[in-house]
Amino acid sequence: MITLTHYLILTGILFSIGLVGVMRRTNLLMLFFSTEILLNAINIGFVAVSKYYGDLTGQMFAFFIIAVAASEVAVGLGLLILWYKRNGSVDLNSLQMMKG
């Protein structure tokens, strides 16, 4: 039997994979990919909870997360293009102008 716990453990694993990606990647585009992984992991979690408690709230939330992710990608890629045009590189270490 697949219980909620299985799904939640899966969510946790996927989330930590996303975290590794966020910490590890220095290419900005890859960083965005990792962010997508995080969001998708959460989506699985929400829908799993929704199914096992018979509540539609989880699915609605996942729905809105997808919408948000879409707009985030649009804006994020736009900014990335601008940055690339200005600096010629999408490496994270070239983004280091705001040194404290």
């Binding site: 509540d55 879409a70 649009a74 690339y84």
Partner: protein, 184 residues
Amino acid sequence: MFEIIAFYIFAALTIGMFAIVVMSRNALYSMSALAGGMIFISGFFFILDAEFLGVVQIVVYSGAIMALYAFGMMFFDTTRDVSEKMRSKKIAYTLSVISAILVVAILCAPLVSENIQASYPSMDNVGNVQMIGIVLFTKYLVPFELAAIMLLVAMIAGIVLASKKMDEYLAIEDDEVEEAKEVK
């Protein structure tokens, strides 16, 4: 039975795909793996009786978002292998392992999971799509409208940011106006 097999296959595949995304040096491989992972996640949604969401996942994520990433990748020079020096790997891995344990511990704690009650319970005779439609347009109407506005804004922002000459100036100079009038 069927469900168990499907779950484990999809889980293994998803984890594998996302691992490739995170670990690979080739950008193209990462992107393709991401697209694959998205589709398997959609599979998860179908197992969990969220058909509408599964379809939306494929359409929006694998269709629109990955296409956007693909176009973005064409823009940047990504044929070269991305060489990254990762600093202090140990810290990164430790942190993520710790956070994974914590998240799981929180979510699986029996106290938390026993007190949840459904606020929008799904009814059995109605299909998932109809159910989502009912809830979306009655209870979640305002977030829906707001999400629509947000998407509009994102679209305009994307166009503005990425079009030509946008990094130079955003307003027409006076002499250009004169030029435009003379051309006419």
